[in-house]
Symmetry: C2
Subunit: 391 residues, 2 copies
């Protein structure tokens, strides 16, 4: 799924000193850093410490036993034990920061590194207690960016499910008939909604959670995050952008394909060929040490050279106005970015390469693969063919 | 789904002054406040202002046109326009806080109210720019707690799907045969996983997203958030706790039922009757003006009187060690809480009432309905029968 070209990152406004004593307070269902560190899933926020090389969770009575059984941290502590200690030290109704403070005093550590999204409320309260909090930008855990073989396998397994179900969807389009410009499968006009439901059900049957899958046709597709709605039309480009997560491993995969049922116009054919050439150029450029900004700029320059300009026309963005790619793993969009920012690729990064071109008068095309950065180049984790025309 | 009895809330550590000029920077896919305010769903964080009574989004090139078409705010502004303005004012590489600052200067507002989970990184950067940020605890939007008739209807529609699919699951258990202590349906032993998959698929077919549905048996169920695994056993209590969201409206519903296939032991029967009596006591107590702390304490006292103590036994929590209930809406757990904290119920709140008792030697029971607080009492939004024994 496309991401903005220049992440809105205030790096210059934040501290860059980062020690090894870490604190997070977050919900692992929505915060991949705390999940990565704890391997514990819970519906409400909980507290994670890394102190003097050991990892800790501070858990409510409701979660403490399950955390002991399921999490991968060194020590699971009881929140209510520390709350009782805070009370015994004279605090009448200890708040979370008081309880966290009780643990921190015990560790005799004054300076903690927290993620950029650390809640301001707790930040203020802990600073009132006298602690120094150093904010560390993502990647909070640099290792999260460099995928282990197990993580690459998990992403690839999710991608296999993607390829299987998208193959089934394309087979429906292949078997379909064109009547009055619409696409009929087994007597019903295929729509963005009906195909999306089909894909999400097939994914769930296999143990994958698909949400917001984009199946967008014609002008809808010119807005890269428009999910699409209504009947799909023949002879127009249809963007499929599908990015489910494995319910078991929690790793995402991400792939886009653009197809036409019937016959594309000549300008649309040329648009497709240009995006495909741009995407292949991008993939050829991926290797350890290469600057993502250059990869992005080269594609943009290639598009411009072919006559496809990027910018506002009548108040709307046209051309190639998102990033070339993004890291993927426990988050659908995670570092690194391949876009309008410097990033020197490292071995073990898994990134998407997904340029697109969007012109309401012609159509929209986006093509996306996931690749693993290697020393010499990259390994494409996507094996699905790039077929434009489905007769 | 059960929540901790006393939310870990550091209210005493935060500012209580809250003006009407609001700022949020969050991802609406995971942050219900920014979704509530914007009605715009996006996979990455974006910026919301409420300034002098008008609401604004500041959106990247990738999302700006879609936000104009889909969001419900008064004005959608282009992030890159403000970024360009910041550059023209001499900032070489403006970060997000610089861009936000450009908008704030234009508004000539020095003091902003932000939610408790506002990212510390942006909080620090904006304070460096000279702004006063007042943190407002949840409910950030007090109106979010008081459901409109449309919101109650959305919750009730989700609940209808819950009742339909859970009815189908119970029908499978009813039709099943007991062989060597296990529960066989159409020749297969029913397991937590197989029934969970069945429920999640049926929900998705209807347009609902079920995740982490609890189907836990015997000792698994004594850990209230254990999802359950392995074959379900006859004559033991099985907790079903199901809390999907509508993909269309994004509103949740939440229900728990406890059943036994076959014959429960006498102690388990008595445990069930006690929880049911406690839950009915709780529901009878719900009305405008009543303190949730009292509702919780009365149930706890009733359980104690019946001989069911709460506390640690051999290092594990037993008894009734979670809250009685929680608000529900765009989040599965949202204010208010009915637990170990004061909260005087207001008309229009939708809360769960879900006491439970957990003893590894006997079994686990939790029963949960959702109710709408009214002036005289409450309206139960849950109509599913409470059947304990499935013969």
């Amino acid at each position: 799924m496309a991401e903005q070209a220049a992440p809105q990152n205030p790096a210059q406004n934040t501290t860059s000193t980062a020690g090894s004593d870490l604190l997070m307070i977050a919900c692992s269902e929505t915060d991949a850093n705390i999940y990565y560190a704890s391997h514990f899933l819970a519906p409400d926020a909980f507290i994670y410490f890394q102190a003097k090389g050991r990892s800790y969770l501070l858990m409510s009575d409701l979660e403490v036993d399950r955390a002991r059984a399921q999490s991968k941290v060194d020590v699971v502590l009881s929140y209510s034990d520390y709350e009782a200690r805070a009370k015994s030290e004279g605090i009448k109704a200890p708040g979370l920061a008081d309880v966290v403070h009780t643990f921190m005093k015990e560790q005799a550590i004054q300076e903690w590194t927290v993620p950029a999204n650390f809640p301001l409320q707790y930040g203020d309260a802990l600073r009132q207690h006298g602690y120094t909090l150093n904010i560390k930008n993502d990647p909070f855990f640099p290792k999260r960016v460099l995928k282990t073989p197990e993580e690459v396998a998990a992403i690839r397994i999710t991608q296999e499910a993607v390829e299987e179900v998208i193959g089934e969807a394309f087979e429906r389009i292949r078997q379909a008939e064109i009547k009055e410009g619409l696409i009929y499968y087994e007597g019903q006009a295929l729509s963005s909604e009906s195909l999306r439901n089909f894909l999400h059900l097939r994914l769930m049957e296999k143990g994958y959670l698909g949400q917001h899958t984009i199946i967008a046709c014609g002008r809808d597709a010119c807005d890269p995050h428009n999910e699409g709605s209504g009947p799909l039309r023949a002879n127009e480009s249809i963007i499929f952008d599908i990015f489910p997560r494995s319910i078991e491993s929690r790793y995402f995969a991400d792939m886009s394909r653009t197809v036409v049922k019937g016959r594309p116009s000549d300008p649309l054919k040329r648009l497709y060929d240009t995006v495909l050439e741009g995407q292949e150029l991008g993939i050829r450029n991926v290797r350890k040490g290469k600057n993502g900004l250059e990869i992005h700029s080269e594609i943009l320059a290639y598009f411009e050279k072919q006559g496809y300009a990027t910018g506002k026309v009548e108040g709307r963005m046209q051309g190639f106005f998102h990033g070339t790619g993004h890291g993927i793993g426990l988050d659908i969009h995670e570092p690194p970015r391949i876009g309008k920012v410097d990033h020197f690729l490292e071995e073990g990064e898994v990134v998407t390469v997904e340029p697109g071109l969007y012109y309401p008068e012609i159509g929209a095309v986006r093509i996306e693969d996931m690749v693993l950065v290697t020393a010499e180049g990259c390994r494409n984790l996507t094996t699905h063919p790039k077929t434009f025309v489905i007769p």
